[in-house]
């Protein structure tokens, strides 16, 4: 059907976008920080000349900026992201080891927030203006108003320092081995995932609840009631299905923002992910790493947007016709 044409078009569209974003990042760094060679030297003044020269050659650091960018782009197409100017490790290695932890943290948070959002919103919408609804809306608006890291800190203080039942940071203990120490991994996952989920839950519940309230007043819901349809079917099959369509798009966008916002949560929990690494890279102006992370996160955001748009087509029959 035409859906594949649409998907291909959207995927192709990622290319100019990513080029735009990485180019802007690239040129900003050089416009503000100047000569890349100087950056390298400032980073590590004791770098031996030979290593420095090798670095310059490998990363083409002595060419004009535009050429350097095109060179980087060319390498990226061949999946070569260069080397870290700080450690000399290939960037793809670095990214590979950090990316997974970010991904599974975000997915865990996403799963929890989506799973909880539905029953909570339905409850709040059905018992509108009741005490329960009031509490839920209050907690939701608090969730979107509190800085994620602050909530994280408070939970760490409570559960890790005071109660001592959960770890204060990191993805796993030093001697934990995957997959046997699953419990250990999960214990470390709880707080950061909960914090991200709480924030997103606030957003989803606010949106879904208001959509549900609106939908419950519509004609077809009234018609179902007039037919004696059990409430279970009216709410979960019909109202929810109609209410959820914009929420799906919203979840996709929120996921993108969440991934991009990883630096904050990961710093708070010393979580070894892309965000944490990004903060380090920025501090040292380790530009190959910076560029690679910007690239990756942009691609991840755009792909999740497209995935959500496609999902939307499946969910809403009215969109399918074209």
């Amino acid at each position: 059907m035409n859906i594949w044409g649409y998907v291909i078009r959207r995927l192709l569209y990622i290319v100019p976008m990513v080029i735009g974003i990485t180019a802007i990042t690239f040129f900003t760094v050089f416009a503000a920080a100047g000569n890349p060679v100087a950056i390298v030297e400032a980073n590590d003044p004791e770098l031996p000349q030979a290593t420095l020269n090798a670095l310059i050659n490998y990363l083409q650091l002595n060419r004009p900026p535009a050429i350097q960018y095109l060179n980087w782009l060319w390498n990226v197409v061949h999946l070569n992201f260069g080397v870290s100017i700080q450690s000399g490790r290939p960037v793809s290695d670095i990214i590979w080891s950090w990316a997974w932890t970010t991904i599974y943290l975000q997915l865990a948070a996403l799963a929890v927030s989506v799973a909880l959002a539905i029953p909570i919103s339905v409850y709040a919408a059905k018992r509108r203006n009741s005490l329960g609804d009031f509490v839920i809306t209050g907690v939701s608006v608090f969730g979107i108003s509190a800085p994620v890291f602050w909530v994280g800190e408070m939970l760490i203080i409570l559960f890790a320092y005071d109660l001592g039942i959960l770890p204060a940071g990191g993805a796993h203990s030093l001697n934990a081995v995957w997959p046997w120490s699953l419990g250990d991994y999960l214990a470390h996952l709880v707080l950061p995932a909960a914090v991200i989920a709480y924030f997103n839950l606030g957003l989803y519940v606010r949106l879904l609840r208001s959509r549900l309230v609106e939908i419950m007043q519509s004609d077809y819901i009234m018609a179902l009631k007039a037919m004696g349809t059990p409430e279970r079917i009216t709410v979960y099959k019909h109202a929810l299905r109609n209410a959820i369509t914009p929420v799906v798009t919203f979840v996709g966008l929120a996921l993108g923002t969440s991934i991009a916002g990883a630096p904050v949560t990961e710093t708070t929990f010393s979580w070894p992910g892309l965000g944490y690494e990004f903060v380090r890279a920025i501090t040292n102006l380790d530009f190959p790493v910076i560029l690679a992370i910007v690239f990756l996160i942009s691609v991840m955001t755009m792909v999740s947007n497209i995935a959500v748009d496609i999902l939307y087509v499946y969910i809403d029959p009215r969109v399918r016709v074209s």
Partner: protein, 306 residues
């Protein structure tokens, strides 16, 4: 004739909206909190009991130093309601003194972002076709851009070179630059909706000029949404700004709530109050703008009867 009706309509619409706002619990609470925080921020620096030096929280040579490392009133002294830190910072004074920075940056960034958003949204929605396509592509770029990452980068590169007021302006601009895009899209949507309303057609038929249509008719109708969006944008701007500072990418020469939290983060296990109270202040501030936004939304976009 037509302008008269539109103006009269706007005047009474305003009165109606005001009445609805007064009924909105969220709106009133939000407004109250906001007023309180603004007053506190304004008089803060004057009533703070201790000096707070943003460059170095370890006060040296200062005669009036609070005792160090005190817990808040539950355990100790009401003279230090929020406790103090090892470094000699009275958290209460710290909060009072830095509150206005967060407000200024948040509001400034939001206003800047909304100005851009209105401009792009109006032009794009109204003129359509090529202009619309081009502007929407640009907007899309800014939406997809990993904002926080780039903000961190910009801060790292440029913030150190600035001082005082310049720093505030810097943060206002860079945060604003990454907040306008989503709003622009929303405003454009609203402009399109209003554009298709019948009375615009009749205005065109009467021969009204383009500027007249845009400013006299489209803008007032879009204004409701703009006001609501602004309030929410301030909320997100403050959160962004606090996150930036918390990660250590403040410029180091202005003190804000986020900066206090950054400086005390390593000592969180022993001085949790130095994280709690500044954070709580941020929550109250952001909550105020979110509730206000809700109240404005109820007042200006009435949904079906509750």
């Amino acid at each position: 004739m037509v302008t008269e009706t539109v103006r009269r309509k706007s005047a009474s619409q305003f009165a109606v909206a005001l009445r609805r706002f007064r009924k909105s619990k969220a709106g009133l609470v939000g407004l109250g909190m906001l007023v309180f925080m603004c007053v506190l921020a304004a008089i803060g620096p004057r009533i703070a009991p201790y000096n707070v030096n943003s460059n170095n929280l370890l006060l040296q040579g200062d005669t009036d130093i609070p005792p160090t490392w005190l817990k808040p009133p539950l355990f100790h002294d009401w003279a230090f309601p929020f406790g103090t830190t090892v470094g000699g910072l009275d958290v209460f004074s710290g909060v009072l003194v830095s509150l206005h920075v967060d407000i200024i940056i948040g509001v400034g960034a939001a206003l800047f972002a909304m100005a851009l958003a209105i401009l792009v949204g109006l032009v794009s929605g109204f003129y359509g076709r090529v202009v619309d396509t081009v502007l929407m592509r640009v907007t899309e770029l800014f939406i997809v851009f990993p904002a926080l990452l780039f903000l961190l980068l910009l801060s790292r590169l440029l913030a150190g070179r600035l001082s005082g007021v310049e720093t505030l302006l810097f943060y206002i601009i860079i945060i604003g630059v990454f907040s306008w895009a989503t709003n622009a899209r929303l405003i454009r949507g609203e402009v399109l909706r209003v554009k298709s309303l019948e009375f615009i057609e009749s205005e065109k038929a009467l021969g009204a000029s383009t500027t007249r249509i845009v400013f006299r008719h489209i803008l007032p109708n879009v204004l409701a949404q703009v006001v609501v969006l602004t309030s929410f944008t301030v909320a997100t701007s403050i959160l962004t700004e606090v996150a930036l500072f918390f990660l250590g990418f403040g410029s180091g020469n202005i003190l804000s709530l986020g900066e206090i939290m950054y400086l005390n983060f390593p000592y969180m296990d022993v001085e949790w109050w130095a994280e709690l109270f500044p954070g709580l202040s941020v929550v109250i501030l952001v909550l105020a703008f979110n509730l206000l936004g809700d109240g404005l939304s109820d007042a200006l976009n009435p949904k079906l009867r509750e």
